[in-house]
Amino acid sequence: MSPSNLWREIPQRYRLEAAFCPKCLTTYFPPRELCTECGSRELEKKKLPTRGKLVTYTVIHTPPKGFELYAPYIVGLIKLEDGTHLTAQITDADPDKLDLDVDVEAVIRKVKENGRDGPIYYGYKFRPILNANGAPERKC
């Protein structure tokens, strides 16, 4: 990956910017040029909520090249409070205590390095919201 491709994804990676179709109320993350639900080409910018629920997750032990230093790590499918789904690493979590449907919130973290001289990639990850006992919250 190159600096330009890092740079152009910053609104999504740092601020969770999505596209919103005012005609049929569908949200797209990442943003796109047209609405595949109603065909509209007039999409607006929308900032996603930063809280949601963990729909499912995996603990990666055999990582793709570039992620060797971080394994094992958790990647999850998240449903945000507005119903939008996205894929993200789950951080600050014990895989043995994690479960489906736990509440999660967005944080900014380092994602990976790109060799000795390349840029460092940052982006959203999600962490479980802990209750007063330090256990993951699960409202449902």
């Binding site: 990956m1 491709n5 994804e9 999504q12 797209y28 993350f29 990442p30 729909v55 499912t56 997750y57 995996t58 603990v59 990666i60 032990h61 055999t62 990582p63 793709p64 090249k65 570039g66 992620f67 060797e68 971080y70 094992p72 790590y73 990647v75 999850g76 499918l77 789904h85 996205l86 894929t87 993200a88 690493q89 895989p95 489906l100 994602v111 990976k112 990639y121 982006g123």
Partner: protein, 384 residues
């Protein structure tokens, strides 16, 4: 459209072919198919290959392989559709012959994966997923399958044992297949207890990395009689796709592309899932195999694992699935896989499948997907 027949098949055992180059591997499979067909003059060449550029640092594959076969003066094309590149090549070759443009077409698939290290190969395979919003998070293709497997286990109350039973069945089938990478049986204990790759997926849930090449010769059905008495026709074919990002799916527990591709291919062939006598399905991971059994219509949603446990998909069952051993045990040299599947079905329908022959097979299908169901291609074959 003209009816199209397969008149020759060729396969190389999936393996670590240290001594073979991508060129020699493909050429040997092609020669096998040409000899099986009775050496007709070939009018065009199609090659399915996912990523010679990344695995072998070799692009511009079609003219290279055409030259190796002495076909450099004929039209040759490489077709890429991720893990379903083999079936994509057949899909294009089929339309070429059906349209009347060419008569005798050689269609093959090749992937030479073993020249790269495992973490490189895992990365190359993950390039079939969205680079910015899936691979960027460190998610592998195994990881997407693992998220689905966890959800499936939770929703339908299924344990890892049930997936392991599918793996045991695939190995048992492969033990009778001379082209299989893993031609041996394994115990349930071994299938269950291996190193975690992307939990809940463990190593034995995954198709292996390997080198392979396979090829077919197809021609108009009316010309097939001159070359073979065991003609197999391709009577249906369809390709469908789904949202490229997994998280955009409306249903995380089925592959819509498989449902759509099979529905249209069955309709073209004028068959129902009950008519299928043998199927080669895309079990890149055990969960993908279970979903395929459901989404192709052989079992209801959430009951694919029951079909495995009750023996419905075993070689003497109602709908034998992957008599070759599937991607899991026959092997999954990515861009070649769809052609291995087609070659297996043709052998089954000719009655030439040796010890792994399923009884009374007249209609067979192949099912080849890419990514996690971003594409699915289904072909329907029938013994004449």
């Amino acid at each position: 459209m003209r009816k199209v027949a397969v008149i020759g098949v060729g396969m190389i055992k999936v393996d670590h072919h240290w001594k073979e180059s991508i060129r020699s591997l493909f050429t040997k499979a092609a020669i096998n198919a040409l000899e099986d067909a009775g050496n007709p003059d070939i009018d065009a060449l199609y090659v399915g290959n996912m990523s010679a550029g990344q695995f072998n640092k070799q692009e511009n594959l079609a003219p290279m392989l055409a030259d190796a076969l002495g076909l450099e003066s004929k039209p040759s094309l490489r077709v890429e559709e991720g893990c379903s590149s083999g079936s994509a090549a057949l899909y294009m070759a089929l339309k070429d012959v059906a349209s009347g443009m060419h008569d005798f077409v050689l269609v093959g698939g090749v992937e030479k994966m073993m020249d790269t290290a495992t973490n490189d190969a895992t990365f190359i395979i993950s390039t079939v997923t969205d680079q910015e919003y899936e691979a960027f998070t460190g998610l592998s293709l195994a990881g997407i399958n693992a998220m689905v497997m966890r959800l499936y286990m939770n929703k339908f109350g299924v344990k890892r044992e049930s997936f392991a039973k599918f793996v045991v069945q695939m190995h048992e089938n492969a033990s009778k297949n001379p082209y299989a990478q893993f031609p041996f049986k394994i115990s349930l204990d071994k299938a269950l207890n291996s190193a975690p790759v992307a939990e809940p997926i463990h190593l034995m849930d995954c198709a292996p990395i390997g080198d392979g090449a396979a090829a077919l010769v197809i021609c108009p059905a009316e010309k097939a009689k001159d070359f073979t008495s065991d003609q197999v026709d391709i009577i249906g074919a369809w390709k469908a796709s789904d949202t490229f990002l997994f998280h955009m799916r409306k249903d995380f527990l089925s592959m819509k592309a498989t449902i759509e591709a099979s529905r249209n291919a069955y309709e073209m062939a004028n068959i129902t899932p009950e008519d299928v006598d043998v199927a080669e399905v895309h079990d890149s991971f055990s969960i993908a195999g279970i979903l395929a059994i459901e989404d192709l219509g052989f079992a209801r949603k959430g009951e694919g694992w029951i079909a495995v446990e009750e023996g419905l998909i075993s070689p003497d069952g109602e709908t034998p699935v992957n008599p070759s051993g599937g991607l899991k045990a026959r092997g999954h040299p990515i861009g070649a896989t769809g052609i291995y599947q087609a070659a297996e079905i043709v052998l089954q329908l000719r009655g030439d499948a040796g010890k792994r022959q399923v009884p009374d097979a007249r209609i067979g299908i192949t099912h080849n997907t890419s990514g996690f169901g971003t594409s699915a291609i289904v072909h329907v074959f029938k013994a004449e």
